[in-house]
């Protein structure tokens, strides 16, 4: 999932300081699962903003809505009836995608309440780690299911480098060396010989090299 983290309250409050009425919009997708921008967090943020403004003697009216997802137009549409003329700003608790979908649909001041961090997973309740570099061409079958693109600090494809010490990365002693993990895993699987195969250079044109990416699936498009 996409992992996000709330911006500091003062920052969000600063972004809507001109507003008298805001729509605080949560997302039922990834940010609900990573406990950053779901229905509960939306309620907490709205309460924080109201309290802050009430204390400043400049009360803020809030309307809280949590959409199933903010990255699908059919769910974003459900917000239409709440985006009334008197709404001065929309605060989105979705990842950067949701913020943009709202900004594209409504002629309103849309601000993010989150910092979108990475594509990752839960390693224990309350701890999330980055696992995928979204490079556009998966090579996990070559590396025993461990991604060197994102889990190696240098993203190198022919590691480990000289900074690998005792299985840890020189960048951070808490970070395991991805290439050490890959080697250990390939050894355990009895597939070390695969690491000796000569690999062609990775095709980075499928990553961010060519500008924003797009996936088109003719078979699932509705307007034929």
């Amino acid at each position: 999932m996409i992992i996000a983290e709330g911006k500091p309250l003062a920052e969000v409050a600063g972004l809507i300081k001109e507003a008298k009425k805001v729509l605080v919009v949560g997302c039922g997708g990834c940010v609900t699962v990573c406990l950053a921008g779901g229905e509960k967090e939306t309620g907490i943020l709205a309460a924080e903003l109201r309290l802050l403004r009430q204390k400043e003697g400049n009360p803020l009216e809030t309307v809280e809505v949590t959409l199933t997802r903010q990255c699908d137009p059919e769910y974003v549409e459900m917000l239409d009836k709440y985006v009334t003329d008197d709404v001065d700003a929309i605060v989105s608790l979705a990842c950067g995608v949701g913020v943009q979908f709202l900004a594209e649909r409504y002629n309103k001041w849309v601000v993010p309440a989150m910092n979108t961090k990475f594509a990752g997973g839960t390693v224990e309740h309350g701890v999330w780690e980055e696992r995928c570099g979204l490079c556009g061409e998966c090579i996990l079958y070559k590396t025993g299911g461990i991604c060197p693109i994102i889990r190696c600090s240098k993203s190198i494809l022919n590691g480990p480098c000289g900074g690998s010490q005792g299985g840890k990365c020189e960048v951070n002693p808490d970070t395991s060396c991805a290439w050490q993990l890959i080697y250990d895993r390939m050894q355990a699987l009895g597939k070390l010989d695969l690491l000796l195969e000569i690999q062609p250079p990775k095709d980075w044109s499928k990553s961010r090299d060519g500008g924003p990416r797009k996936v088109v699936r003719e078979d699932v498009k509705i307007d034929a």
């Binding site: 309250l9 309620g43 924080e48 009430q54 009360p59 309307v63 809505v65 949590t66 199933t68 459900m78």
Partner: protein, 153 residues
């Protein structure tokens, strides 16, 4: 400020503080009438949102009472409450209401006198701090609407 009577909400775990309050009553112990007791099935039910709402609705101070550490009926509820109260204290500091207006205490069902003591101690603290900064700013509570999640839209 002498005539200031703080409004204090005490969220009480059913297994300890709520019974301790009963005991304090049976023992005819005196404690300030500023306390509004709210029963919870466990202090693990503590929700940051509800704590903030208490302040929003006009409380000058809020405290959560849970079982002694290690004695939670549901094993870890009071530790979860402790973490949430700490987080809510940070939020109150950020907002400028002040984290010292929120506290968590641990006690057992047999500690009726301690229940009364906490009530006195916390009321004194809030009395010294004065009314919540929100009280003096506006007389009306700002509007809030929460139509709910996707399914209800």
């Amino acid at each position: 400020m002498a005539d200031f009577e703080p409004k204090i909400i005490a969220f009480c775990c059913f297994y300890c503080a709520y019974s301790a309050a009963d005991l304090a009553g049976s023992l005819r112990l005196q404690y300030p009438a500023n306390i509004r007791v709210i029963e919870m099935p466990c202090s693990g039910k503590t929700d940051i949102r509800v704590l903030l709402e208490a302040f929003e609705e006009g409380a000058d101070g809020v405290y959560v009472l849970g079982c002694m550490e290690g004695d939670c009926h549901f094993l870890k509820g009071n530790f979860r409450a402790k973490h949430r109260v700490q987080q809510a204290k940070k939020i109150l500091d950020d907002i400028g209401i002040g984290g010292e207006r929120l506290e968590m205490y641990n006690l057992s069902a047999a500690m009726g006198p301690r229940f009364a003591e906490i009530a006195r101690e916390f009321t004194d603290r809030i009395r010294k701090l004065g009314p919540s900064p929100l009280r003096t700013k506006t007389t009306t509570t700002p509007e809030k609407t929460s139509p709910g999640q996707g399914a209800n839209l």
